[in-house]
Structures are given as structure tokens and as C-alpha cells.
């Protein structure tokens, strides 16, 4: 009788285990059919900037703002833990280590004359998009309108505009910050119905029509044929800290022997209290 009791108890325990496991699977499977199964904290940190419902399958595509899978707006500070000596101060003439440049670029860099640049009103040559993002700087990101993201940098007091949707570059003369098209990369497969925008993704920007400038402040050049492609990833830490890591790819048939690939790190700040615009400095 005692043996029978033990068997019954063991059976009941096994049944309970199976039931719990089945329940867990069914719950998880249900979650899997819906939104991405991210941890709640992570999902909360990646709040959508827009909030417009739907946007996939029916109707026109969402605007850049409404379709944003992540919120990049706010205040960011570059944390210079990489290439400090080349970014925090201006390195000496001829110091172009780690840059995949060609002989024409070396020749131009060897002729760098910051006094001449200043006299010519060209003190901002190191603050064009490819050089600007490597400066020690704070960024302020906001939406100028539903399809234009604005990124301001306090180093050199520069502004970049990222255009979503069907925007066409107006053409004309190259500018310091060039013309930038932007799109969200979500990786989500097309689905019908009123699916909400994906909860995850990154920004991709492509900048062309750049005025010639310096990719390192000591006169290492890029040309007006350069194309800058950037991938903007928002990374959230268990501590709640947020980082913006920008993978940067510069192509320039004039001065680069191959594409120049780097990544830049910005930390989110609570507010803009340390925002400190300053003019371009050539030296």
C-alpha cells in the first residue's frame, strides 16, 4: 500500500512538472507570435520615437519619425577611449598611422598648413561629417520634422540633417556636411495587417556631396568624391546606461587606398547642461 502511495505521489509530481513545462512552452510560443521576445527592461529602453500604429502592409509607409524602431533623440557625449592622441589633440604633421590612404593623400597631408587654412576662412575643414564625428564633442539629436532628423554637434557648432523617405538631394555645390539620406534597418520581414513598427533596428545614413575636408585634423584629406555610410546602433546596458555606437565607412577613390572603417562611441546624457558650442579651430 505504501509502495502504491509512493508511485501515485511520484506520478502526480511528474504530471505537475509536465503541466508546468507545457504551460511555459505555450506562453512563450504565444509571445513568440507577437512582438520580439526581448526582456521587458530592454524593450522598455528601446521605446519608439513615433508611436503611430500600423504602418506595415496597409497605407503609405510611415514617416521617418513614426517608423523609428528606436529613439536616438537626446544628448550624447563622445567618450574618447580610442585613438585619444589623434582625436583629443591635433597630432603633428605627417602622423597618419592607421589610415588606409594613398600617396596623393600623404602628399596633401605633408603640405598641411593650418595658418593658411585659417587665413582662407577654411578653419572648419576638420569638421565636415567624416572628421566631425571623431571630434571630442557632444551631440544633440532631435526631429526637425517628421522626415528629417537633426544632429547638432557642439564641436565647431555644426549641424547635420538626415532625410528619410523619398527625399532627393537638391544638388548644387558640395557642403561641409553634405547631403544625407536616412533609413531604418529593422530586418523585419514584410507582413500584412496592422503590425506595429519593429521594436529593434538601427539607423543607416549615407552622406554624399561633401566639400573636401580633413578626416584627421592634421590635414589628412578626403575629397568631394567621398561617400560616408554610417550605421547607428543604440545599445542599452543592464545598468540602464545607453550607448550609441556608430559604425562608419568612408569611401574615397581620390585619397583612400581602401575603405576606412571605424566605430565611434557616444554615451547618453540626462540633459544638455554640458552643451558648449565652440567655433572651428584649424590647429
Amino acid at each position: 500500500m505504501q509502495t502504491l502511495g509512493r508511485i501515485l505521489r511520484a506520478g502526480a509530481t511528474l504530471a505537475a512538472m509536465l503541466a508546468m513545462t507545457a504551460l511555459t512552452f505555450s506562453t512563450l510560443a504565444a509571445q513568440g507570435r507577437g512582438a520580439a521576445p526581448a526582456a521587458p527592461a530592454a524593450a522598455a529602453g528601446q521605446a519608439r520615437a513615433g508611436g503611430a500604429p500600423g504602418g506595415r502592409g496597409d497605407g503609405p509607409p510611415p514617416t521617418g519619425k513614426a517608423g523609428a524602431p528606436v529613439d536616438l533623440t537626446g544628448n550624447w557625449v563622445s567618450v574618447i577611449t580610442e585613438d585619444w592622441r589623434w582625436r583629443m589633440v591635433t597630432p603633428p604633421k605627417g602622423d597618419y598611422a592607421s589610415l588606409p590612404i594613398n600617396m596623393d593623400a600623404k602628399k596633401a597631408a605633408d603640405a598641411w598648413d593650418p595658418a593658411k587654412d585659417e587665413a582662407a576662412g577654411e578653419a572648419c575643414k576638420g569638421y565636415g561629417a567624416p572628421g566631425l564625428m571623431r571630434q571630442p564633442t557632444r551631440l544633440r539629436v532631435s526631429w526637425q520634422d517628421d522626415n528629417t532628423m537633426k544632429m547638432e554637434a557642439d564641436a565647431g557648432t555644426q549641424t547635420r540633417l538626415f532625410h528619410f523617405g523619398e527625399w532627393k538631394a537638391p544638388g548644387g555645390s558640395p557642403t561641409l556636411q553634405g547631403d544625407t539620406t536616412a533609413s531604418w534597418e529593422t530586418g523585419a520581414r514584410g507582413r500584412g495587417g496592422n503590425q506595429p513598427p519593429p521594436m529593434f533596428g538601427n539607423l543607416k545614413t549615407v552622406t554624399k556631396n561633401l566639400k573636401p575636408g580633413y578626416l584627421r585634423k592634421n590635414g589628412v584629406p578626403y575629397s568631394d568624391k567621398a561617400t560616408l555610410t554610417e550605421y547607428w546602433d543604440l545599445l542599452r546596458q543592464p545598468t540602464g546606461e545607453q550607448w550609441l555606437v556608430i559604425t562608419t565607412v568612408l569611401e574615397d577613390p581620390t585619397y583612400l587606398a581602401r575603405t576606412w572603417i571605424t566605430s565611434l562611441n557616444f554615451k547618453k546624457e540626462a540633459n544638455g547642461s554640458k552643451w558648449d558650442p565652440s567655433p572651428c579651430v584649424a590647429k
Partner: protein, 348 residues
């Protein structure tokens, strides 16, 4: 007694259920990620392009160069005492760099997926070990991190989860290791969070190292790799041998305040000694603004002036590396572009 046994059985059953749930959670997460199109196959051979952090990752940092490192006084003391020849002691030659060296070292990267043969779910990503760097295994099956008292290793213990299209990895149980090859350390209390973000043919690995012993703030580094099936990722079997005869028990080092080379780096670049010592405050723009008001760069480049992105370059301004010089016979292609990093000849 019977009641106690029953309780124990019930607790064990509950524990088994929890373990199953954890595994099920991991599998369900992967399945959902695949459904959402967010799980990404990271496997392949990735070339390290060395287009940034080149000095630290290729030739190695100068003695006493702690620029950009948010380290504390304890770390400075350890690094100041370091003599690189310590590494050729037979008992230290085969100590591996810890997993953070993926973004700190010059090596290429091979990533392989391990799949569950029944469900097809990814059980783990294996980052190959290579010259001096420990293999890095990332468990994706929901297993918990071991007890704090479990052994620490150079690879550490790592678990991963998908956050959208980014693989986030948490590593604990690291051994004490070198962050920079000039002696800057991390402790065995360090934890590391990595994010693997793939964009087309690029893989950006961001590493955030938190260490209550040696670092004032979390230390972030990122490195971008490019997929390249032709890239070599060669493990290097390590056979310790006597390279320099020494007395038994002799460990190369400098006593506090006795390292004669610490002043060379700031002098070489006209930097104030304080800037070379690192610290969190030196990594923010306001420090640069203050520094630039007094800083005067050297008149000319004096080291690594040939440019380049390879592991071995001339380290002075002599020789045929300027515009009007003929290229040396063993020079890299114009501009120093290299197909990919190759392993260094020896540990330095």
C-alpha cells in the same frame, strides 16, 4: 523523515522544471527572433582591419601611455611596475589574453555556431582562440552563470541573448588579465558586456568592461571586422621554453617609482604628464578643450610616420616612406593598406 524526503523530491522536481523552463525560454526566444527576422548568423571568418586603435592593437602602446583609459591609481601602480619581458618567463609564455582582447588585440576572428541537433536552435557561438587569445564560448541556451566561487578562466563564462538584431553577451569569471600590452590590467572581478552588431559585411563588436578594482568608469571599446573567407585565423600552439636565462624566482618588474621610461611618452608628444596617466575625466570633451588651450603639437611626426594599417611598420621617420621617396622593397601597398591583419610573430 518521509515528509522530509517528499519535500526534497518536490524541490528537486521544481528545480528541474525551472531548468527546463530556462532552456525552453532560450529556445522560444530564438524561435521568435528567427520569426521576426532578427536572429542573425554571425558565423564566418572576420578580418580585423586595424583602422583605429592601431597603436595599441598592432605595434603596442608606449610604456606609460594610458591615454583614454578610465583607470584608477591602483591600475596605474600595476602598469607602472610592469616589464614586458615578464611575458617571456617560461611559466608565463602561454598565459592567454582574456576575452576582452577581441576588441583590444590585432587578431582576426572566426565565429562558429553550435546547433541543437533536434531543434536546430543555436546552443552556442564559439569565437575561436588565436594567437595569445583565449577561445570565447557564448552560451545561448539559457544556462545560468556559475557560482561566484567557480573557477575563473581567460575565456570567462559567457551567455548571450538577442536584442533585436544585436547579440548581447555577458561575461563573468574572467581571470586577471592585460587590457593593454603595456601592463594596464583588469581584475578577476571584471565583468564584460559585448554587443555584436552586423551590418552587411561588417561586424562591429562593442565591449564595455566594468571593473571595481582597477577602473573608475566602465571602459568602452568597439572594433569593426569585415567578413573575409580568405582571412587566416591561426591558432598558435604554445610551447614554453627558456628565452632568457634567469635566476629561479626572478620576475622582471619595476619597483614603485623606479620605472625610468614613464616620462618618454608624454615628452614624445608634448603632452602634460597628467594626460598620459589616463583617468575618466580625460576621456570627455571638456578635458580636450582645456588641454588644447595650452597644447602645442610636436613640429613633426617622430614615430610611426609612414602611416599604414599593418601590424609591422617602420617606427621612425627614416627610410622610404615619405611622398617623394621610392617605396622600400618590403613595403605595404601604397597608403599601407593591408588585406587583413596577420598574427604577430611573437607575444609582446
Amino acid at each position: 523523515m518521509l515528509k522530509m524526503t517528499r519535500t526534497a523530491v518536490t524541490i528537486a522536481a521544481f528545480a528541474c522544471t525551472l531548468a527546463g523552463t530556462s532552456h525552453a525560454w532560450a529556445q522560444a526566444q530564438q524561435a521568435a527572433a528567427a520569426l521576426q527576422g532578427t536572429a542573425i548568423d554571425l558565423s564566418g571568418t572576420w578580418a580585423n582591419r586595424l583602422h583605429e586603435d592601431w597603436i595599441e592593437r598592432a605595434p603596442g602602446p608606449h610604456i606609460g601611455d594610458y591615454t583614454g583609459l578610465p583607470i584608477n591609481d591602483e591600475a596605474r601602480a600595476v602598469a607602472d611596475a610592469y616589464q614586458v619581458s615578464m611575458q617571456n618567463m617560461p611559466e608565463r609564455q602561454c598565459i592567454l589574453y582574456t576575452s576582452q582582447y577581441i576588441v583590444m588585440g590585432p587578431q582576426n576572428l572566426r565565429i562558429q555556431q553550435e546547433l541543437d541537433p533536434i531543434s536546430g536552435a543555436v546552443v552556442a557561438f564559439h569565437m575561436s582562440g588565436t594567437v595569445d587569445r583565449a577561445p570565447h564560448d557564448i552560451w545561448m541556451d539559457g544556462r545560468p552563470h556559475p557560482s561566484p566561487n567557480a573557477p575563473h578562466t581567460a575565456g570567462g563564462f559567457s551567455t548571450g541573448t538577442w536584442e533585436g538584431r544585436v547579440l548581447t553577451v555577458t561575461t563573468t569569471h574572467l581571470k586577471t588579465g592585460l587590457v593593454w600590452r603595456n601592463g594596464v590590467p583588469h581584475s578577476d572581478q571584471a565583468t564584460m558586456v559585448e554587443h555584436y552588431a552586423r551590418h552587411d559585411n561588417l561586424l562591429t563588436v562593442t565591449m564595455i568592461l566594468t571593473d571595481p578594482v582597477y577602473w573608475e568608469e566602465p571602459f568602452i571599446r568597439s572594433a569593426t571586422f569585415e567578413i573575409d573567407p580568405t582571412t587566416r585565423v591561426l591558432p598558435e600552439p604554445c610551447e614554453p621554453q627558456v628565452e632568457i636565462p634567469r635566476s629561479p624566482g626572478e620576475v622582471p618588474h619595476y619597483l614603485p617609482g623606479a620605472n625610468p621610461y614613464l616620462a618618454e611618452f608624454p615628452k614624445l608628444f608634448n603632452l602634460p604628464a597628467e594626460a598620459a596617466r589616463g583617468g575618466a575625466k580625460t576621456t570627455y570633451p571638456e578635458y580636450g578643450k582645456a588641454l588644447r588651450s595650452t597644447y602645442k603639437s610636436p613640429d613633426r611626426c617622430t614615430v610611426y610616420c609612414c602611416g599604414g594599417t599593418t601590424l609591422t611598420v617602420m617606427n621612425n621617420n627614416q627610410g622610404a616612406c615619405r611622398t617623394d621617396d621610392p617605396p622600400p622593397a618590403n613595403a605595404a601597398p601604397a597608403g599601407g593598406a593591408a588585406p587583413a591583419a596577420t598574427p604577430p610573430a611573437r607575444r609582446e
